[in-house]
Point group: D2
Chain length 364, copies 4
């Protein structure tokens, strides 16, 4: 939202940080140049809320009906501003440049690719990237613990939609129609078998059909059925295989029944892949700031997705998790009662700022 | 529509026929008592139009946007009024009473049961029933030919709706959800096998799912899926078996996947079954009026349905077809360009009136 | 069996009837020429037993282990020999020729087409055909009642076999195999929907897969799965449509999964269709011999098949049923305790002989 | 085979090692007590061949028709005897006891549990376990490289069988039967969806139906269908869930169709889980013997199974892989042309003996 972006931009300017407004539509970029030359590192936080009516009863709940920070991005803004202030205060120690990316539209609105397309990485010669997520995304992390992954941390996701195009008719005369509802049922069943039979069992992959719509009357066979879904996976080859096979199985089934079809992919996020060497550097920063006992090598990646993957696809870096709640008892992300343990916000800000400050030394 | 009902009622009164208005909501009943006492026969015509935008270019197309007589019920009104006039003119020959039932809401709005519930049969001690349908319903009939069936002519139909109640969740975490879209696909496939495996092959039966709706996003597993459909059949035992088995298969499948379900039947039409003895009488009337070469014993019944079946369930009688167009080249019923061959209307009126006039003699 | 054929041939010769042996392998043909010239009528009875161990305890049970007359063809031989004797005794009344066809291999071994191929119809210029079946095939017939149909009495049947050819592999690595068991399951489900969605509901049709075999170990994905089944129907167009669609759906499904397939039809019986005019003649003979109350017009055809259909495909005639047991309480045909009510055998013989005797007069 | 076991036993005795014969039927155990007391470590090698006809053309191919060492267990025997000889020669350095387990029946005949049941671990107070596999099981290993896993290396496997019990009948009358072939097809499809919808995507799991058999004729609906398959997984909870759900889905589907069922599990192997601490110790031995560049931490586990898992379920230890061929070009295990690169056998023997020799020091 424009107010949030403006609030962020004003704070940065207040602290003497150069600001770019309207990057990738409503993104804000703060540029903080160190005293001595050096490489540029990007710190990214996402700012967007979700279309959910908040059911919390804090004294700081959302003022906007039907919108709330149900994924903790308000905490991310706090972390980002905290890091900005810390870095501004320590500017004399900073070698190279820290670029603070305050990004809109992480929840499926294409915020990250829009800012990249608008030149935020290229223009500032960004050489490394750091970002993180607060909350209870991983059951492996207690509140205040930093979760680290040396490889893929989050899944790629591709959205697709399909139409099974039959031939409408009277429900009493199926022989004169081509029934797209019965054909769609066969397609849905067959598609699930792509996961169980064609994807190697050691490759995590999910196919979910999120919606199906067809017909408007009890006794008319409709012309077509609409299906929409997503696939999630880690290796690009797996995504490519799945998409090709989804269309082939749809085509084969529709051909069996003399039906037509449409198949289109919408948006695709790459997997979120951390750079092992940068992550090693980050883990040392994290041990220093949080204590060894609070830094966890994550055993499992997450099937959910995050558009920071677009940045990490271009620039080496790391994406970390910061436990901010008890994963066993907290409401999950995207729930109307989702809440953060604010006592960890200082650590988030420190991790972002600390990584930027120590980055120069690593590059030598 | 009220205007149509009032138009009919006025004409009947003009011709000296006693009228009941507002029977079963907007039905009109004309009562024409003959000179000598005798049994009562009911003549029924249906009056309702369909929510279809007419695409014909006659000089007498529908004046109401989005509504047209796409099933020929306007022709039925003409037949009914013609019969009324003929009988009124020949009142001195009439033994017993002719009750002219002008019925609304045949196309699924419950017109027939409403008029029966309002006493139209009981009040007038109706002993026999005659009605017919104009158009191109049977490929066996040329224009002007009368189609006769001594048994079941049209199928029974029962409408049902079902909900598969899963458990919504994130599309990336199917293990925490119960996916009602995948379960519904299994149910739809299984239900079709009831027709192919459990219904005797010599029993005509159809199951059509006319609509399916579930979900509103590509990456959220929805809570539930809605299904609606119809079954058609001729023997009540078949309908009863199918409904019971639909629910059992739904229940078994949902239990397999830990899902819940709802299953409800909405409306049910009985099969339209003619009385053999009355039909024999009617066929003789038809031969006399139309000529032997124009009276056809129909080889096949129709899978479509008609709510005159409610009357024939209570009172012996017959329902005939009157060819009014070339079945090979005409637009089908319910099509925006459906049209009637008006040159047969006189025969429709004559059949209805003639049956009523000759009815008394049969009873002796 | 040779002994049965020889027994029949000897009896015919004993009664002065000319005999052809070894027609269509083991068939026997008796030729009885009347005193005056006239057209030829064929009387056909089938002679074969079934590979079933008899469990009856009569004093006349089968002497051959594992073989019994579980379908009543022994009664048919008795009827045929009875008719032969009656006609031989009344030869002076016979105009034209009666050809008595004693046929082997009705139960799927191709007996009828073999005798036709061997010239039995052509050689004797057969102009009409009569045959019948004893037992409890129709629930509409009491013992001693003659069942008559003016049209199709029994279904056509076509046998087919299919192979789904996948690619074998280790059960732990499905991604490297093409699993023909899972694909076959999809094919079997899809095939049933051909019956419920593509065949007009008023057309009786059945598809049954009688056997499926694939694999020999719990943890190896096999190379292929074998399926065999039959379709039954009345109109040749329906059979043709079903076979074409079975292969198309198999092909489409296999293509979806990159599998190959084989599809072959084995034998096909045409539907058994009576000639209306000859059947009218036969019904008059039946009324004369059995009494009007014992002649029933059958309401329903039978889904089972009979190879007399091959004769009726070439020559007009009729196939009747003769009730020989109580359909409600008797063991069904092909059961180890199947039995006939022998008190009706005289009527069977009389119907066959009487039809032949009266045939000439009809032709005038 | 007895000859192999006797050959092994004789060699061990020749080298002064105490021998137990017939342990768990045909297993051989060598006990080599060191000079000073200490804990007992078990070295296990498997000895069995496979029922495959060898197609190699070495001068040392199998002499037994239809049997060959298609999984490299002959190499394991060589490794085991090599280790025995090395340890016997270095007995003065050995602290504690080395128990050499030569096991039969690894390929599904229950060799490991039989030897455990016969007391091989208990009797000798075994405190640690080491074993390995030669060949090309992992694409991550070149010939001569040692593959190490700190956690689960191979999947658990459970074999199950099911019967769908319908009701046989004539293929023309499905309404009087309960068709187990059509029901089995539905079950097979539904079972696959357990993998794709109910198992967390990050949990590797496979379900394979390896065989299906039902029916013996094209036109008879059989009484039942037999299914057999395996599931593979890593966490016991996943296996337990899958087995319970397989039976529930089978039960639900059969209940839908009024069919009965049987469901039984046969044998189950636990997952092969290495002990992290012992594996750390082993990896140091491996680095010392093979060089750091030849010791690989395996990124992926294997979906195949191995009954050494039964030993590792009782005693901490490690199971390693030793590359013996080029994974890109070699014939796979269980192939008639499978072969080993024998130049690595010395390393296998050295790893087993070296681990035993260094074990004592670790325990201090």
């Amino acid at each position: 939202m424009e107010e949030t972006a403006e609030f962020v931009a004003s704070r940065l300017e207040e602290w003497g940080i150069e600001v770019e407004r309207g990057v990738g539509k409503t993104g804000v970029v703060g540029i903080l140049r160190g005293q001595v030359p050096g490489p540029t590192i990007a710190i990214r936080v996402d700012m967007d809320a979700l279309p959910i009516q908040e059911e919390n009863t804090h004294d700081f709940v959302s003022m906007y009906p039907g919108k709330m920070h149900a994924c903790g991005h308000d905490g991310h803004i706090a972390m980002g501003l905290g890091a900005a202030k810390l870095l501004a205060q320590a500017r004399q120690d900073l070698a190279g440049t820290a670029v603070l990316i305050f990004q809109p539209g992480e929840e499926g609105q294409g915020g990250a690719p829009a800012m990249i397309a608008d030149g935020v990485l290229r223009r500032h010669k960004v050489k490394a990237f750091v970002a993180g997520h607060l909350g209870v995304l991983s059951p492996e992390l207690a509140s205040g613990q930093v979760g680290i992954s040396f490889r893929s941390l989050m899944a790629a996701v591709t959205t697709f939609q399909a139409r099974v195009i039959g031939k409408g008719g009277h429900g009493a005369q199926p022989q004169d129609a081509i029934d797209p509802i019965v054909i769609s049922a066969e397609v849905i069943g067959a598609w699930q078998r792509l996961i169980s039979r064609e994807i190697p069992p050691l490759e995590p992959a999910v196919l979910t059909i999120g919606q199906i719509h067809g017909g408007s009357s009890h006794n008319i066979i409709p012309n077509e059925v609409f299906l929409q879904g997503t696939i999630r996976y880690f290796r690009p080859a797996v995504g490519k295989l799945l998409l090709a096979r989804l269309e082939e199985v749809l085509a084969g089934t529709c051909r069996s029944w003399k039906a037509g079809y449409r198949f289109e992919t919408d948006q695709a996020y790459p997997p979120l892949v951390n750079d092992p060497s940068f992550t090693q550097f980050f883990s040392e920063v994290a041990v220093e700031l949080a204590g060894r006992q609070n830094v966890q090598m994550l055993e499992f990646p997450l099937m959910v997705s995050e558009d920071a993957s677009f940045f990490l696809d271009k620039v080496p870096g790391t994406y970390f998790l910061l436990g901010a709640g008890d994963p066993a008892t907290s409401y999950p992300h995207h729930h109307p009662r989702f809440d953060l343990d604010e006592s960890v916000l200082w650590l988030g800000a420190a991790l972002l700022a600390g990584t930027a400050r120590r980055f120069k030394s690593r590059e030598k």
